[in-house]
Symmetry: D3
Subunit: 285 residues, 6 copies
């Protein structure tokens, strides 16, 4: 399965804003003062720890927006596993521009690679099952489209991209709507024909109530593996099954082995540690 790249038109405004945030009103006063404008250099973008990379286009565009004379030779692309010391790309061009764009390029790459790495770890831990790992809407404001891409780069699946692309009926909806049954039926009569309905349930009793109204998917929240297994048995293929709550590379295998379709984890996008990637000076060029 190949990873589809994001169109540049979606990436560029994001990179542009980050560069302007960093340049402020005076620009890179350190490089401007110290570095000869004619100096050129080659640097290596290198992994400092094992992981999976994601977001190279963000870095590439950061360098280009600062100086189109900077070129990248990309050796390892998004979705690739890296080991410490692996050179992801060589970057050559005006030294000033390279130094000016460095931090923004790394901030994006480290952040998205961190997400891909965390996703890949869980994906690997459940590779012996049919289950997939998926993310949530617990994303960093402004970066959702890209964080979801990073999850895909790590081998994960995507959940909803927003409030508007699927129905997800959660505990508070049920409480206010007066129950699972009215919630699902009201949803069904109002939505478009390409919209699916998922319902969150906390107990097997809620599950039975939900099943009676034929949702497309059921989110089994914070259940033990034993309960999950029983839930999967009860559902019997009538809905896609998703388990959430405390999913880590340690807990994932046991959960996946219950026969569940999906494991979802908010922390992939909101709390994954960045992947340590650095820029090493190779030489003047």
């Amino acid at each position: 399965m190949t990873l589809s790249k994001l169109p540049e038109i979606m990436i560029e405004p994001c990179v542009r804003a980050a560069l302007l945030e960093d340049l402020g009103r005076a620009g890179d006063i350190t490089s401007d003062a110290i570095i000869d404008p004619a100096a050129t250099a080659t640097v290596a973008l290198a992994a400092r720890e094992p992981g999976v990379i994601a977001g190279l286009d963000f870095s590439r565009i950061a360098f280009r927006l600062i100086d189109p004379a900077i070129t990248l030779r990309i050796h390892l692309d998004d979705g690739t596993k890296v080991a410490p010391g692996d050179v992801i790309a060589h970057i050559t061009g005006p030294a000033r521009g390279i130094l000016t764009a460095e931090r923004v390029a790394l901030n994006f790459l480290g952040h998205f690679s961190g997400i891909a790495t965390a996703t890949a770890a869980i994906a690997a831990s459940i590779a012996h099952t049919k289950a997939k790992i998926t993310c949530t809407r617990k994303t960093t404001p402004g970066l959702r489209f890209a964080e979801k891409y990073a999850v895909r780069a790590g081998g994960g699946a995507n959940h909803r991209f927003g409030l508007d692309d699927a129905i997800l009926i959660k505990d508070n909806h049920i409480a206010i709507a007066g129950g699972i049954a009215p919630a699902i039926s009201r949803a069904r009569e109002r939505i478009g024909h390409l919209v699916k309905i998922e319902v969150e349930v906390d107990t097997l009793e809620q599950l039975e109530e939900a099943l009676a109204h034929q949702p497309d998917a059921i989110l089994l929240d914070n259940m033990t593996p034993a309960t999950l297994r029983e839930a999967v048995r009860l559902i019997a293929g009538r809905a896609i099954t998703e388990a959430s709550g405390r999913i880590t590379a340690q807990t994932a295998p046991e959960i996946a082995e219950t026969g569940i379709d999906l494991l979802s984890a908010g922390w992939l996008t909101h709390s994954a540690r960045v992947l340590d990637i650095g820029l090493d000076f190779v030489g003047v060029s």
Copy 2:
């Protein structure tokens, strides 16, 4: 020391963009389908784990932008320590709007509170020294101003906000500029009178070279406590001292006890785990 709030004019565009990202083109189709537009509710914004809160204005504005009829009674403000179960605020108003704004409000609050919590943990661990904990430019693109605020809310100090508000001469600058001496002297002759110069050094030899050119601050990168102690002795108050590299609540005390002025940690802003804060249904109101 009171924490100064960010002006709303800086916060609002950020919250507005996050809400539009989540609403997409069809809005909150779940709440729209299920929740009676006349229903009102009260929910409690409550901590699920211990930490320090930051970013309440982002949450408050998220609810207001979705529906000005939603009101918040804030019980615990930014910078406050919370224990699991502590109610930070009660939110009352149209149920639909509360549910629509919930995720964005929590995404901001959890993210900034996570940073404040991580900062506060280190700050507490070095409270017996004169040292302060500070952040870096390794921030989430688009959120730097707010993540820096979260660091302040956690009791930390702020480093540079961008490439333009201070000179920071790092290893790659030195390599390309041809040494510490030319780097500092070129910087000094070009910068404004309110701009300070900091130099990164990796060894005591580099430190001595740097000291000869009187930088305002010296970043001692990845040194052992013993070397740091020696560096502080050599500097002897002639420059502000900053230690970086592997700063955690565990390692911080020993580093701080070397007499260093500042400990800096990029992970505070790029890898702090979000603080788990949730919205609990209290009742229809």
Copy 3:
């Protein structure tokens, strides 16, 4: 079934841009020159022809953005049928502001009401069947979210909001992908669990090929009622059925009576005639 209003946060930027487009660099030079700034007036927003109104919030916000002292008493809300002469709202306040905002307020209201009216006409013509009328992605650039809302106000259903919220495999996709079978199976293995797949077919042969791969929905393009009836029989409830091509209030009933689930018409959003709504001077107030 109540119509859910769009959140103001989605509407306001759109209205703001339209007002600035009309004000240009010099503002409303006619009203500024002619109308006493102290003059106040009451005008009636009245239908000049029968139809269904949609977009009143756009008009209301246009008046408010020009002058918050202008107030609207809304008598008939979005989704309501109107007859010629029906007064939709009375608008009272500074005369200058009312005249300045008039054209933008009417441009939005007429456009969206035109869409709602066209939709309602078809909806009425097929009310004796289970079929619903739906729109497409053939919308006016920049106004999709609002035109989709207008379709809902007219009693229609919404199709995809963009390229990203469902899979729709069309003739060109099939030609390039090398057939319906590979297209559907590649789609299924890559998409999220809340994403549905619809396939466009032009013939009953294609339909059989598609059915073998279990799409969620099938778009039957440009078929005669007889062929549609046969297609519906073949599908036998295994997929949602949608008919497209030359749908008008005249042709719709016969198509709907084939047992189809949905009729889709691009012209609802790209070619519906505006509804004639005007602003009548009532008096100085």
Copy 4:
């Protein structure tokens, strides 16, 4: 008379926004899943009905923004008459990008060509007179500059572009200002030396009152051909004359033959049916 093209700087933001509206947060999930990223194709942009084309630059830029590797060979440019089957351009390049940009490219082209076609029909119907057809400010919010261009592409003339580029005194202005005389004289004393004044009149009595104050142009609203002829006689070249109300290709000739200078029709920009233009697969290339 050659048609002047709009500068790209005016077009591009509009196309960019439309593409982002369609891509949403996940991009073109259909093409990404189904189409081999290495596949290339040639498609033909072809008219499906007779008309006049306008807006090719919008389509061209849409393809370029999605993928600069896509090239267009344009055979027929804006302002050209087309017959069903006429190939307007051939488009060659990566198949994914062509499919992704298709809908937006067609939405612009169909909309503007629809306006040009409607304008051209009326222009042709009055070609034996000196009269010209012109549009109004009843345009689609956000697209006024482009819809006015489409009118020019169809051989029409442009009226005001906004509230700020000419004085147009309408019925409500007259009612609130207290008459035609004070309205015109106040306007004249306040406006710049390059601003013209037009007044709307409904009757020959109003016309005489207006003529006494020497407006540059007079809008004769909803008058019969006989009354228009009398009005033109009374004006006797002292002002430009414009007729509005129910202008169609059927009614236009009789109105134009009254000797009027301009016929104006709001529906050209707000209610013209799109011109049916499609993208036909030619082959892999």
Copy 5:
């Protein structure tokens, strides 16, 4: 003649951008550090030199955007003459916010008042003639609409607001078009009926050529008073007359006395000295 205020919707984005430019990423670190958040103050906005004020709405909105609790009592409005020491407004509210908004509020007010003052000086010097003073398109990028307003506040008239609201044929146009005659006739056949044509001429020979083609206005560039007088005589009311080149309060009377209609001066908007207006501390309140 009353001065019409600019709609807030035109002003606010401009003020918002200026505040964000000044706040940067850390906000007002001086006031935040020093001023008690509970402190309130009253300050007086006072003229320090004689002039005419313009732009008070920009200042008022600056304070409001920083803190809505700040209130202004405006004593002297736009267009008013002030003497040194005159208090234009009293400003009361949270001291922090007042100090934070101060510089932006004064930058706008000083700049626009400087333009109004320069305009008023020339207007006064030619008040004994029928001539008016007008500005040009030589404005500060981004502020044209507001600088044109400032000219009106000073009693001046406005020339074109952009390239699109009138035809102005200048020397380079004539050189490239191949003469005045073809230039005017091509313009006339292409433009809308509400667009005027002005031609720039440098000599009386050019003037005669221009007059033969009946432009609406003639710009007499850099002519001596004697030549201007002759030009006015030749034109004999057949076109509006405008004199440009070296217009100051000293030279204006002699030029105005030639019978010219308009004097235009680019320096009013690009080089007028700001009017010195300051904020004086009145007391804590």
Copy 6:
């Protein structure tokens, strides 16, 4: 000392906005009507008076954004002294585009060159001393980063770029904070380690109070040369010294000879006269 250029990413949005402001909704109707689209021309960008140029990149980008086929051969770059008649650049390409971009290109170039020229005049007048001339935050809203650059191009130094990059304690801060001592000490305990503190004093008494709290810099406001000399003596190198108030090329030498480090003048950015630079037609090319 070489002048560092601003990154294009900072310049382009500014130029783009200015072009769109000038193009309005109809574009350059004069050139469109008169100039043959195939006509090409060469023009010379020439100084009409002596000065120092700044902002050529803004002009270059203006031409490129209007038509990439326009090329510039730049003979004299930013920071260069020019005499009347000096040709700064030759511009060749489509005549229409050159005429369309002309005014915006000149507005930027004239404005920034005016600032550079004014700065250079003062810099020259104090070249025999160690003092430098610096600007303030009294800048044109939206153009601060560029006006600061123009000051550098003229040989001046930059003061604060905003409220957030240094502490500057002014008279109103002192009044509200209750004195110089509490103001400085509160500032010191709250700010980051790379932030400097400057205090404004009006008298020698205030100076002594300030010195006791060791600010990094002292702004001596509106003092006579004699008092300044005494202040410099008192400070004795313990802080950077800045003199403000009535700084002109005439007064600067006497002030600079007091031994002061910096002279600051707000008028450099808010009231410098534009440098007269024009576009001369060279020929069709």
